[in-house]
C-alpha cells in the first residue's frame, strides 16, 4: 500500500507546489487559444504570442530608457515620501497639537484625487521630474503615515514604562522602542506604497512626459499598436511586482524578527 501511495503523494505535493504557476500557464494558453480559434483581431485583444513578438520588436535600449524614466520617478517619489512620512508620524505621535492640526490636512490631501490635481501640479512645477516626483509622493505617503503612526501608538504600555522607569530621554523612547516596534507596520505601509509609487509615476507620465513606461503605453495605444501597449503593460506589472518583492526581501534581510512567525 505504501509503495503505491508514496509516488501518488509525491505527485500531489508537486502539483500543489506548482499550482499557482500551472494555473498561470493554463490561463495564458487559454488566452492564446481563444485568440486563435475566435480569430480575435489584435486591436481588440492581442494574443500572448503577438504580445511577445511586439515586446521583442522594440529595441532593448528603448525599453531601458522608458524603464529608467518610470523607475527613477517612482523611486524618488517613494524615498521622498518615506523621508516626509516618518518624521511627520513621529511629530504627530509626540505632539497632540501637531496631530490635531495635521490630521485633518492629511485627510483632505488623501481624499483629493491626485489624478485630478496632476495637471495643476505640472502647470505649477513644469514638465520635468520635480512635478512627477511630487505627484508620486502625494499618492504614496498617506499609507506610510498611517502605518507608522499606528505602529508607534500600539507600542505596549509596559515597554513605555520600562523607558520611563529609566528616565530615558523621549527621543530614545521614540528611536529605541516605538520605531522598532512599528517596523512590521511600517513595512506593510511600504509594500502598499511601492506599488502606488509606480501608479503615481504612470499617472504623471499620462499627463506630461516624453518617456517612461506609462508614456509608452499611452503612445502605443494612440497609434493602435495594441500588442505593443500590452507588452508595455505587462513589463510595467512585472517591475511593480519586483519592487513589491524587493520591499519584502529588504524586510526579511534587515529585520527578520519583524516577519510573522511561521507555525
Amino acid at each position: 500500500m505504501n509503495q503505491t501511495s508514496q509516488p501518488k503523494l509525491w505527485l500531489a505535493q508537486q502539483a500543489n507546489r506548482f499550482a499557482p504557476a500551472l494555473f498561470f500557464i493554463g490561463l495564458v494558453l487559454l488566452w492564446e487559444l481563444i485568440c486563435r480559434v475566435g480569430k480575435v483581431p489584435n486591436y481588440i485583444l492581442p494574443s500572448p504570442s503577438a504580445i511577445i513578438t511586439a515586446f521583442f520588436n522594440v529595441e532593448f535600449s528603448r525599453w531601458m530608457i522608458h524603464l529608467w524614466a518610470t523607475l527613477r520617478v517612482a523611486l524618488m517619489g517613494f524615498v521622498l515620501s518615506i523621508m516626509i512620512a516618518i518624521p511627520l508620524s513621529i511629530g504627530m505621535m509626540r505632539s497632540q497639537l501637531m496631530n490635531r492640526i495635521l490630521y485633518p490636512a492629511l485627510i483632505v490631501i488623501q481624499s483629493t484625487p491626485v489624478v485630478a490635481v496632476a495637471p495643476l501640479i505640472i502647470v505649477l512645477l513644469g514638465t520635468d521630474d520635480p512635478s512627477r516626483v511630487l505627484i508620486t509622493c502625494l499618492i504614496t505617503f498617506f499609507p506610510l503615515v498611517v502605518s507608522t503612526t499606528t505602529g508607534m501608538l500600539e507600542t505596549p504600555p509596559e515597554m513605555i514604562e520600562l523607558s520611563q522607569s529609566l528616565r530615558a530621554p523621549r527621543y530614545r523612547e521614540t528611536w529605541q522602542i516605538r520605531i522598532p516596534y512599528a517596523i512590521p507596520h511600517i513595512f506593510s505601509g511600504l509594500r502598499v506604497s511601492i506599488t502606488l509609487a509606480i501608479i503615481g509615476a504612470v499617472v504623471a507620465e499620462f499627463v506630461a512626459a516624453e518617456e517612461g513606461l506609462g508614456y509608452f503605453i499611452q503612445f502605443s495605444t494612440s497609434f493602435f499598436k495594441i500588442p505593443q501597449a500590452f507588452a508595455g503593460l505587462i513589463f510595467l506589472s512585472v517591475i511593480s511586482l519586483l519592487l513589491f518583492k524587493s520591499v519584502q526581501w529588504i524586510q526579511a534581510w534587515f529585520f527578520p524578527w519583524s516577519l510573522p512567525k511561521k507555525k
Binding site: 509596559e158 523607558s163 522607569s165 529609566l166 528616565r167 530615558a168 529605541q176 522602542i177 522598532p180 512567525k261
Partner: protein, 260 residues
C-alpha cells in the same frame, strides 16, 4: 547595623490613589514599612490595585493621597536604584538576549562599555543563559525569557527590585524552579523586594512578609510574618506551618468580609 535593618527603607504612609479626580479610589489607606533587603509579597484579588501600588513605589505614578518614600526621601520620579520585572518578560523582540540585558544602559545613557558587557555576560551566566545570549527572545521558552527579564532588571545593580506577577505566565514546574532561582539570587545579592503575585503558595514560599489586600478599593487586610526557616526548598512546601500560612491567607481571599 541592627538599626539599619529595622528602619523603614521603603515606606508608604496613608497611600491612596485615584486615576482621575472624580474616579473612585483604587487603593486606600495603605501603610507599609519595608525593611532593607526584606522580601515582601503582595497578594489580593485581581483589580484590587496591586499594580497601582507597585507603580507608586517605582515612581512611575505619584499617589493622589499619602506618600511613598525611600530612605526618608519622598518618591517623586523613577529612581536609579529600582529595577522592575514585568508580568510578561517585556523583552524587545528586535534585540538579542544580550542586548536586551544591556538595554537599560543603552536606553538611559545611549551607550555601554566593555565592562558593562562583561557584567551582562556574568548575569547571563548566573541565569544559565550563556549559550542563548545571541539568540532572539522568541527563540527562548517562557521561563528563559522571564530570566532575561530578571537579569535585565539587575543590570544597574538596583537596591530595590519590584516584580509585578513576574511568573504568572509560566507553567507550574517552571514557576517553582524560577522562584527558587530568584531566592538564590536574592541571598547572594541582597535586595529589597516587593513581589506581587496571585499565587498564595508562591507568596508564602518566597517572602518574609505578606501584605494581603482587600478587593477594590484595595486596603491592608493583614500583614503576615512568614516564619519559615531559610533557605527554603521544595521541602518547605510539605511543612505544616506552610499549610497553616496558606490557609490563613486563603481565608482572607475567599471570605474577605469575615476576619479570620
Amino acid at each position: 547595623m541592627d538599626q539599619a535593618k529595622n528602619s523603614a527603607y521603603v515606606s508608604m504612609k496613608g497611600v491612596g490613589h485615584q486615576y482621575a479626580p472624580q474616579a473612585p479610589l483604587v487603593v486606600k489607606d495603605i501603610d507599609l514599612d519595608i525593611h532593607r533587603h526584606e522580601f515582601v509579597a503582595v497578594v489580593g484579588p485581581s483589580g484590587c490595585g496591586k499594580s497601582t501600588l507597585l507603580r507608586m513605589v517605582s515612581g512611575l505614578l505619584i499617589p493622589s493621597q499619602g506618600e511613598v518614600s525611600v530612605f526618608n526621601r519622598p518618591v517623586t520620579e523613577p529612581r536609579d536604584d529600582v529595577g522592575i520585572v514585568f508580568q510578561k518578560a517585556n523583552l524587545l523582540p528586535w534585540l538579542t538576549v544580550r542586548k536586551n540585558v544591556l538595554f537599560p544602559l543603552k536606553h538611559k545613557y545611549g551607550s555601554y562599555s566593555a565592562a558593562d558587557e562583561k557584567r551582562a555576560n556574568e548575569l547571563l551566566e548566573m541565569a544559565g543563559l550563556t549559550q542563548f545570549a545571541d539568540k532572539m527572545p522568541d527563540e527562548l521558552s517562557g521561563g528563559m525569557q522571564q530570566r532575561v527579564g530578571i537579569i535585565r532588571a539587575l543590570l544597574l545593580n538596583p537596591d530595590i527590585l519590584l516584580m509585578d506577577e513576574p511568573f504568572s505566565a509560566l507553567d507550574a514546574l517552571t514557576r517553582e524552579q524560577i522562584g527558587f532561582d530568584l531566592l538564590k539570587i536574592w541571598r547572594e545579592h541582597p535586595k529589597t523586594v516587593l513581589f506581587i503575585t496571585h499565587s498564595i503558595s508562591e507568596a508564602v514560599l518566597l517572602s518574609d512578609r505578606i501584605l494581603v489586600m482587600s478587593k477594590r478599593p484595595g486596603t491592608v487586610l493583614d500583614l503576615i510574618e512568614v516564619d519559615l526557616p531559610r533557605p527554603r526548598s521544595s521541602k518547605t512546601i510539605n511543612s505544616p506551618r506552610f499549610a497553616e500560612l496558606t490557609d490563613l491567607i486563603r481565608g482572607y481571599i475567599y471570605e474577605p468580609d469575615v476576619p479570620a
